[in-house]
């Protein structure tokens, strides 16, 4: 984690850089000339109204859609992410809103699902359990009663924590979280936001997609707003306020000054 921070200060290059990304589905232009930077050790919030293109952009980064035009740079190198496997190989992990946990499996089994460790063809449960415990401890997810309890018995916040822990366990560099606090209560939301801050403190780049602007301002270092497929603003959170972000989200512009427009359109 310290290595990642060091590299950023050395080169000044963001971890992931998107330039002029276009994506359309038939006649519908979902993304138009999107430029976005996701730096090391920063939480970038991606905001936008329904249909603004947040999900499409996420899926382009996660390898589920391939963009029509434009270029994605990862650690300064141009990359083509064609599948979720490609993304995982680069160190990009996505935590989807539905979390994709199997309720009948326990925490360890869920964290290693699809990447189980084996010895002599049999599962190496001891090794997996130890690593899972280490990861959860490093994220200070300590409220679960037993690491071997089925995910069905966890609260919403704990489930989110398990999904995040699974994402960071693989030396990932970028964690994308889709609506991490939707459907959570107050205490659980705080739990998850603290977790996001811990990821940032480890030097990871985090992208959070959220409708909840209170949460966005609570946790984000940078805020980017999509409006009808265009990225209308991307700036430090301190340079923006709730009023302005709402205005960008609903009209695509701001009547007031402040907030560097990355691209005049």
């Amino acid at each position: 984690m310290t290595a990642a921070v060091a590299r950023e200060s050395a080169t000044g290059e963001p971890l992931l850089k998107i330039r002029e990304l276009d994506k359309h589905f038939g006649p519908v232009q979902a993304l138009y000339h999107v430029d976005l930077d996701l730096p090391y050790g920063k939480v970038t919030a991606l905001c936008g109204d329904n249909g603004a293109g947040k999900t499409v952009l996420t899926k382009c980064i996660a390898g589920i859609y391939s963009p029509d035009h434009g270029q994605i740079y990862f650690e300064g190198h141009p990359v083509h992410i064609r599948s979720a496997r490609d993304a995982a190989r680069l160190g990009i992990e996505t935590v989807y809103q539905d979390l994709a946990l199997a309720d009948n499996l326990d925490i360890v089994q869920n964290m290693f699902l699809g990447r189980e460790r084996t010895s002599n063809g049999l599962l190496n449960e001891d090794s997996m359990e130890r690593s899972a415990a280490e990861t959860l401890a490093s994220l200070r997810v300590t409220t679960v009663r037993s690491i071997r309890q089925p995910v069905a018995s966890l609260s919403g916040g704990q489930r989110q924590s398990v999904a995040v822990a699974r994402a960071v366990m693989w030396n990932s560099k970028l964690v994308i979280m889709d609506e991490p606090t939707a459907a959570l209560g107050v205490a659980q939301t705080k739990q998850v936001l603290d977790l996001i801050k811990r990821l940032r403190d480890r030097g990871l780049a985090v992208m959070v997609i959220s409708h909840n602007l209170t949460d966005v301002f609570e946790v984000a270092d940078r805020i980017a707003v999509l409006y009808l497929g265009r990225l209308v603003v991307q700036d430090d959170a301190s340079a923006l306020d709730l009023q302005k972000v709402v205005e960008y989200m609903t009209t695509g512009g701001s009547s007031r000054t402040g907030g560097a427009r990355t691209r005049e359109s």
Partner: protein, 454 residues
């Protein structure tokens, strides 16, 4: 909650964190398996009782059903013949068929699917085996005939699985078609050769005898004891060593007393079973002795052990459970869903082949009277009675074995009492209904337990 501080925080992180306000303590207490959190046997039982009170009953209903069956039939059967060694061995033999078929059905049920074809696909495989060993026609060696029969089943299952996964047809319909096609093929296979549809296993040929002995052959009583001792010692050592290693390295493990209790229970059950089987069960007045553990018991045990290892200890098994629990999660984890599911249907039919082969051995041959349709229902019933969920994601091969014993007990007891077959159907149906109700209620209890499910 308060008593288990060492495991509550999983790795000795400073206890700065506040208690999780969001967890619902009573729900969690009920749903966490007691062996994960208990530090002593007493705590284990307390947690266990809490779980049962909350509707998570585990194998308790099936044990209760077995006890009830034993008590009722012992009390009302003439001369308490139900508990006589002769009858108990007979019961094991009859139940073996249900057990293996239930383990077969388990593969489909854990995926959240169903396989209605097990009875007749298995019957086709068994008919092929019985036909191939006939000394008058093909004269295949027994092992080749068994392999051919099981291979047929596996291929049939793989075809069904391919249709279900690649064409996305519902398993209910595909396997219903498989049931009908299997029934037709079965009659067609039986009609071959000079046996007018009834190839049997009587005769002097060694190959016939091996198939016949699957069910009726016995291991020498002394060898039975030796093998049983080896089984208990081997399994016990393995359980003790692996639990002790986990305890010593600070991983989640049951308390030592619980491990010992489990090993003790296995030892007692094994000793009782071997003692029963080693009693002379030759009919009175004959001078031969008939004693020893029937071959079918190690065969069923072998199927149980191999499928348990496959499902609980390999990647493949883990994927089967993951797909049964949440197919979307499995897909996102990069699991090849069509491959895993197709293989599960192939394994299901393969195991069904073993089951009906045992049945053929029990009958001493094959005939077109085999109730393939009825056996499917018994297989599903046995798996569900044993604790396998009809909704996917939960169930073990052991559940099939326990459920098979219950169905076998009902079947056997009703027969002893001279009840007619219609009563047997009605009672089995009622037991199945009770099992599904328990399954459904415990599932409902579980989902209302987690307060916020995203």
């Amino acid at each position: 909650m308060a008593h288990a501080p060492e495991k509550a925080d999983i790795s000795g992180v400073p206890a700065e964190q506040a208690p999780d306000l969001t967890a619902a303590p009573e729900a969690v207490a009920a749903e966490v398996p007691p062996e994960l959190v208990a530090q002593s046997l007493r705590e284990y039982f307390r947690a266990w009782v809490a779980r049962i009170a909350a509707g998570e009953s585990g194998v308790l209903p099936v044990i209760a059903a077995m006890l009830a069956i034993t008590i009722v039939f012992t009390a009302i059967s003439p001369n308490n013949v139900f508990l006589s060694p002769v009858n108990l061995v007979n019961l094991f033999q009859q139940s073996a068929v249900f057990m293996v078929l239930a383990m077969a059905e388990g593969f489909a049920l854990v995926l959240g699917e169903i396989d209605l074809s097990v009875g007749f696909v298995g019957a086709c495989g068994a008919a092929i085996t019985v036909q191939l060993v006939q000394p008058l026609t093909t004269r295949w060696p027994w092992w080749a005939a068994i392999l051919a029969g099981l291979l047929f089943c596996a291929v049939f299952g793989a075809i069904q699985g391919t249709l279900i996964t690649r064409l996305r047809l519902p398993s209910f319909i595909v396997t219903l078609a498989g049931y009908l096609i299997g029934n037709g093929l079965f009659l067609w296979i039986l009609a071959f050769g000079p046996f007018s549809g009834y190839p049997n296993l009587a005769g002097d040929s060694d190959n016939l005898k091996v198939i016949y002995n699957l069910m009726w052959g016995s291991i020498d009583p002394i060898a039975s004891w030796v093998l049983a001792a080896a089984f208990v010692v081997g399994l016990g050592l393995w359980m003790w060593i692996s639990d002790a290693r986990r305890r010593n390295s600070g991983l989640v493990a049951p308390p030592a007393s619980l491990t010992l209790l489990k090993i003790g229970l296995i030892a007692v059950v094994t000793v009782v079973v071997v003692a029963i089987c080693n009693t002379n069960r030759a009919a009175l007045g004959t001078f031969t002795t008939l004693a020893g553990v029937p071959w079918v018991i190690p065969i069923v045990l072998g199927v149980l052990v191999v499928w348990t290892i496959l499902l609980q200890r390999t990647k493949y098994g883990r994927y089967v459970y993951a797909i049964g629990g949440n197919p979307e999660a499995a897909r996102r984890a990069g699991i090849n869903l069509p491959l895993v599911r197709t293989a599960a249907f192939a394994l299901c039919s393969f195991t069904a082949g073993i089951g009906i082969m045992l049945y053929a051995s029990l009958l001493g041959g094959m005939s077109n009277n085999i109730q393939g349709g009825q056996y499917v229902l018994y297989a599903v019933a046995a798996a569900v009675i044993g604790g396998t969920s009809l909704f996917g994601g939960r169930g073990k091969p052991l559940h099939g074995v326990l459920g098979g014993l219950v169905i076998g007990g009902i079947y056997n007891g009703m027969y002893l009492m001279g009840f007619s077959v219609q009563w047997e159907y009605v009672v089995t149906g009622l037991v199945l209904l009770a099992a599904v109700t328990i399954d459904s209620l415990s599932r409902r209890g579980a989902s209302s337990g987690s307060v916020t499910r995203v």
